[in-house]
Amino acid sequence: MRFLDEEGFGRLMALLAARGYVVIGPTVRDGAIVLDRIDGAKDLPRGIREAQGPGAYRLEATGDHQLFAWSHGPDSAKRFLFPPREVLSTATRLEGELRVDPAPLPEVRYAFVGLRSCDLHAIEVQDRVFAIADPAYRKRREESFYVGVNCGHPGGTCFCDSMGTGPRCAAGFDLALTELGGGFTVEPGTARGEELLSELGSREATGAEAAAAAAVTDGARERMGRRLETDDLPGLLYRNREHPRWDQVASRCLTCTNCTMVCPTCFCNDVVDGISLDGTEATRTREWASCFSEEFSHMAPGDVRKSARSRYRQWLTHKFASWIDQFGTSGCVGCGRCITWCPVGIDVTEEIAAIRVTDGEVAVAEEVVA
């Protein structure tokens, strides 16, 4: 384990930029810590902390000098590796001839700074969806550089500990940092990371520093805002497709799509075509979509999931159960974003717990109630 002082961190940022990476990091915009292009450590949220709860998020100034003393905001690396809108192909139609040109592969190389363990896991979850069939994703993914930061400040809605995805970065990073007063301990995760680190002028971390770094994530584990009992989630959710809790949550759910949009693993997308007025130029664009849209399940004979109940059920069951069948991993990394950024504060951990305590309950037919 190495130790990098504050200046060294500045050199890290500069070196990434010098190597042609577009550096993406946390920065404050419109009252939240978002991910955006940053121009060095000065753009990071120094001395900022956030408070999160279901449907609520506020920034506060702490007055200290910590750069990473907060838990993630709404954005994750998804925004960059799987962009919200992306042209897939363009086509030209002239005098009966049709030419279709796939969009050129992206040239940009990102360096992500400050990703948390849950988000590094989330990237690996999305890899299973996109890595083969989406060459643009694969290129961006493979050419990017990942600087993880071990989490010492879990948010009020976090439950990565329950999902086994944090708070300590275990994989998926080139470099992992732990912020201590006055500097960082650094661990390389790849040869690429090692090579970069060797250029930075770090020193071996002391035993005390290594212990302090371990204490950061241990403390985080204890302060985790939420927990989730994950035992046999697929079985639980599959057997409870007609549970009355779905109706109850549907009465609160806005079907606004926010949870799916902020979720770092949700991958659903639409492909939409556009055409010029004269009909000669067309584009095919992919954009983030959501199983909470009614039209998402549209078929000519009728939309499949018309009710909010069925859409909520689809989402939750997909995340925590069928994802495992489909991709061999849970779709949830316990980041809690869907809880914070739900405008009415619906909490997945609470919904699942409610089903668990009444496992097997079935919606009673209305005639019987009346």
Partner: protein, 294 residues
């Protein structure tokens, strides 16, 4: 960074075939039934055209540039993959533009996708095809294959239902099968919900043909395709006759955008219809079909 993608069930080859749209030319348009036409296409690139193969029941993503791309089953003979038929009913945005296509027009194809009808699973026994309405289009390639391989089956039975005579697809072909192929042991029975004077076959829903087909549940493999409600009734009766659930196969439709398990639209419980289907075995999805709005 190298990626761990071992969890993916889709083969690289399938995916490579599916990612890039290919231009195809409409060669012939044939009206089959009310608002339903068959489009005969050839892929423009000769190399791709010669390499293209599909299995009965597979789909292509059929694209009209600037308008959209939709899943459509290939309805022609898998033994002749150089000319591809797609039989399409105009029901909405994309299909209404398709209705206006004429020979010479260009479209795009991506595919083929999906799990096919397991025609060989029926070898040695009886193959029963139960199709309703437009459902005959995806089933037809399986019938072609069975006809070519007639000797492998004890019996081949084709039961087709439609709302009325004007909704019966491939009418001339069906007439010919009913009349001539029975000498080769292909039994074809047709029915419509509401018949008119010109209709020489049965009247009633497709399940009313079951007694005539004298189904032997011990050796019969069933392929059924049509509206979900029709398939549900057919399956209920077939199970009642003693056909085991694992020998009943059906074709399921869901909204699809990608064809390669990454758009999320076609999920049905744990499955992606584009890759795990569209052909499913009844014991795999029977329970799911019973859940409303899944």
């Amino acid at each position: 960074m190298s990626l761990d993608v071992s969890a993916s069930a889709v083969s690289e080859a399938e995916i490579l075939a599916g990612v890039a749209p290919r231009v195809a030319t409409v060669r012939r348009v044939v009206q089959e039934a009310y608002e339903t036409y068959t489009y005969w296409l050839t892929l423009d690139d000769p190399v791709v055209r010669r390499a293209y193969r599909f299995e009965p029941g597979q789909i292509n993503m059929f694209g009209v540039v600037g308008v959209g791309e939709i899943p459509i089953s290939v309805s022609s003979d898998p033994a002749r993959p150089m000319r591809l038929a797609h039989t399409i009913r105009a029901t909405g945005r994309v299909t209404n533009v398709i209705k206006g296509l004429r020979p010479g027009d260009r479209v795009t194809l991506r595919g083929p996708f999906g799990r096919p009808w397991p025609v060989s699973a029926a070898r040695g026994g009886n193959l029963l095809v139960v199709a309703g309405g437009l459902g005959l289009a995806p089933a037809r390639p399986a019938i072609y294959r069975a006809i070519r391989d007639r000797g492998a089956f004890r019996r081949v039975i084709v039961l087709v239902g439609a709302r009325g005579p004007e909704h019966m697809l491939f009418r001339h072909e069906l007439d010919a099968w009913a009349q001539w192929l029975r000498f080769r042991g292909i039994e074809t029975h047709l029915t419509v919900d509401i018949a008119d004077d010109t209709w020489p076959y049965g009247e009633g829903v497709v399940t009313t043909l079951f007694p005539r087909a004298s189904i032997d549940p011990r050796v019969t493999t069933v392929f059924t395709c049509g509206p979900e409600i029709m398939m549900r009734f057919a399956v209920r009766d077939l199970l009642g006759l003693g056909v085991p659930a694992r020998r009943i196969w059906l074709s399921i439709e869901r909204n699809m955008h990608c064809g390669v398990k990454l758009c999320g639209h076609c999920q049905l419980g744990p499955y992606f219809v584009c890759a795990d289907g569209p052909i499913f075995r009844y014991d795999e999805i029977g329970e799911l079909m019973g859940v409303a709005e899944l």
